[in-house]
């Protein structure tokens, strides 16, 4: 019984963290059509922001504003210099952002070195929950991610900005014609996407390995989720995270890790082949 509870909590953790990581990628790809290959590197920027704050001996919560500032400014610059010239050229953005990803990895390698870094647990230890000992920080993370998604969902449904974004996505020319500043809106959407990646980096930093190549992990799993879940909806994103994360966990538990990874790949290939728009398609 205990082991079932642990697997249940692990599943929840996997879905929550995958959802958090893929959120920004889904926003940028789903709304702007930009396949951001440097998405994982923005997660890395978030993690290294936490490292800077820790090394300076500052309160770790300052890592959140620092990461948002770093990712926001850098994201703004990237959109202005590179992305805005490439809208509606998906393959070009793919190559350009892949180049950007290499540049970001090398820059971090130059600044911090190739070696592994470590961020202390903000909330160390375990708590007794539902009859099992579970890492306390993960429990905190559940709450933070749930609140974040709830706020975001409500805001996107109700706010004026949300309505403008929807207008821009469904008909760019018409939106511009009725006076929506689509250039600014697109830029802010991109900046928002990479900022959520940075935030994910800060939140996950105490749990994961930190080194210049860490972003590659997140890119791959994010793509699997987008393939399965489909683009442009929060529901699809969570369902995709559930299917990918759930398959991995369940198959790994029954068999082993290799079988888990293999089944994730198989599902992704089947979706690309038979249902290329994913479960929740806007089209």
């Amino acid at each position: 019984m205990e082991i079932v509870t642990v697997y249940g909590l692990n599943l929840l953790y996997t879905v929550a963290t995958l959802g958090l990581i893929v959120l920004g990628l889904a926003v940028v790809f789903g709304l702007l059509g930009v396949m951001n290959m440097a998405h994982g590197e923005f997660v890395m920027l978030g993690a290294y922001s936490a490292l800077i704050v820790q090394n300076q001996g500052l309160p770790i919560l300052l890592a959140i504003p620092l990461a948002l500032l770093v990712c926001g400014l850098f994201g703004w610059l990237v959109e202005w210099l590179m992305i805005r010239h490439l809208y509606s050229r998906p393959f070009d953005t793919l190559l350009a952002t892949w180049g950007l990803a290499i540049l970001m990895r090398k820059a971090i390698e130059g600044l911090f070195g190739r070696g592994y870094q470590s961020i202390d647990q903000t909330v160390p230890g375990t708590v007794h929950l539902l009859g099992v000992d579970y890492p306390a920080y993960r429990i905190v993370l559940f709450g933070v991610i749930a609140v974040l998604f709830a706020v975001l969902f409500g805001w996107y449904q109700r706010s004026n900005t949300g309505a403008r974004i929807k207008a821009m996505v469904s008909n760019l020319e018409l939106a511009a014609a009725v006076g929506i500043d689509t250039v600014l809106l697109a830029r802010m959407t991109f900046v928002f996407g990479v900022c959520t990646a940075g935030l994910a980096g800060v939140l996950l930093a105490p749990l994961v390995r930190i080194e210049p190549f860490m972003g590659l992990d997140y890119l791959l799993s994010s793509f699997f989720i987008l393939v399965v879940g489909g683009l442009g909806s929060l529901e699809g994103l969570l369902i995709g995270s559930g299917i990918i994360g759930g398959t991995d966990i369940v198959v790994s538990a029954i068999s082993d890790k290799t079988a888990g990874y293999l089944s994730v790949l198989t599902i992704s290939i089947l979706f690309l082949w038979l249902k290329p728009d994913g479960i929740f398609s806007r089209r």
């Binding site: 290959m37 470590s118 080194e211 992990d217 538990a253 290939i269």
Partner: protein
């Protein structure tokens, strides 16, 4: 997704292939001795490139200051072998036939070693330095690294008697080094009165260890033998500690060196042990002198000293010892003279027999993000590798 991954890896490869051969010039007249040093400067093991390079350079500098090898000054030629074996073969061939390199020292994975022994075919001395799975017996090849035999034969019984480790869980990445290490471990575990309660191999891509940790907890293991490498080891050990498992089970790694421990972090390193032929802070005079010289040469901020990097220093030392005894660099003559060659390095005295060296093995316990050697096992043999 396959196509994207293909794009990803091929672009990565193209970007990293730029780092190729970086010859190092030691300005000296009369025919310097060109020694090829094959180390990963790119790829996953690229982390160990800088310390390996430093250590090889330090050894060459010290030997050159004392008259060189057979009266010739060593000129190191570095090549990146962090990529696939075919690329490594090409880089080695370029040095061997193009630059007339007379001896090779390699710190890289076993796949590359297999390709290189096939290329060299015993025609040029080749010293392989890192920890590995054992069993290399090719002509002209000399192995310095710790074998599973050396790392585990004395350590597992010690863990059983001193720490009560009798229910072992074996976890590693899915390739030959972890599998061969665990095969050796099983013998030592059963002869020390323990049992193996679980055995798992993970793909290199694994970054979530939740299901493994649940299984470890479920089996009631009180010792975990870790043969995960690099980032996987970091991620596993962090998660292991965050689940509060470190109080109930000790962890023993055979490739947890200083960089990996940095990534695991001080608060996740309780009850973590590592078995190796070298640690950066061994207390012996020879090791201290080496660490001081390293610091003096490369500064306090230089790449952390670790067993893999330091093995390149040992490699240059062994080359000199082999050449001195043989009186030449002729591969066949050296092969005939190799048995019994010995030298003193930072690890202590190493003596060659059957292409391997017997040497001291250190068991260290993590203390925060530093290792502290708690037990030295003297002159441990490499086991039967040519059988």
């Amino acid at each position: 997704m396959n196509r994207r991954e293909f794009v990803k890896t091929s672009l990565l490869g193209a970007a990293l292939a730029g780092v190729a051969v970086a010859p190092l010039r030691t300005a000296i007249a009369a025919e310097p001795l060109k020694v090829g040093v094959l180390i990963p400067l790119s790829g996953p093991a690229g982390l160990f490139g800088p310390s390996s390079q430093n250590c090889a350079m330090l050894a060459a500098k010290e030997i050159n200051a004392n008259g060189g090898v057979l009266g010739r000054q060593i000129e190191l030629q570095f090549a990146d072998v962090g990529g696939p074996p075919a690329d490594a073969t090409r880089a080695a061939l370029k040095l061997w036939k193009g630059e007339k390199t007379e001896a090779f020292i390699g710190m890289h994975d076993s796949a590359v070693r297999g390709a290189l022994t096939n290329l060299f075919k015993g025609q040029v001395p080749y010293i392989y330095t890192p920890v590995y799975e054992g069993g290399e017996c090719s002509t002209g090849t000399y192995v310095l690294g710790e074998t599973p035999n050396q790392q585990l034969e004395p350590v597992i019984p010690w863990m059983a008697s001193e720490k009560g480790a009798d229910k072992w869980y074996l976890i590693g990445n899915d390739y030959n080094w972890p599998r061969d290490t665990n095969a050796a471990a099983k013998g030592y575990i059963s002869s020390s009165g323990g049992s193996v309660v679980g055995e798992e191999y993970l793909p290199f891509t694994a970054d979530n260890f939740d299901s493994n940790l649940a299984k470890i907890k479920d089996t009631g293991a009180n010792a975990v033998l870790i043969t995960l490498v690099g980032g996987a080891s970091v991620g596993f050990n962090r998660a292991f500690a965050s689940f509060g498992l470190s109080a109930g089970a000790l962890r023993l790694g055979t490739l947890i060196e200083e960089n990996t421990l940095m990534g695991i972090g001080a608060e996740n390193s309780a009850n973590l042990y590592s078995s190796a032929g070298y640690f950066g802070n061994i207390e012996s005079p020879a090791a201290k002198a080496f660490a001081d010289a390293y610091k003096a040469e490369f500064g306090a901020d230089a790449a952390l000293l670790n067993a893999l990097g330091e093995s390149c220093y040992e490699g240059v030392k062994l080359l000199k010892a082999l050449a001195d005894k043989t009186g030449s660099l002729d591969a066949a003559a050296m092969d005939a003279a190799a048995d019994g060659v010995s030298y003193d390095g930072p690890r202590g005295k190493a003596t060659m027999s059957a292409r391997h060296v017997s040497r001291d093995i250190f068991l260290a316990e993590a203390n925060g993000n530093q290792f502290k050697v708690i037990k030295t096992f003297e002159n441990v043999g490499a086991g039967n590798n040519c059988g």
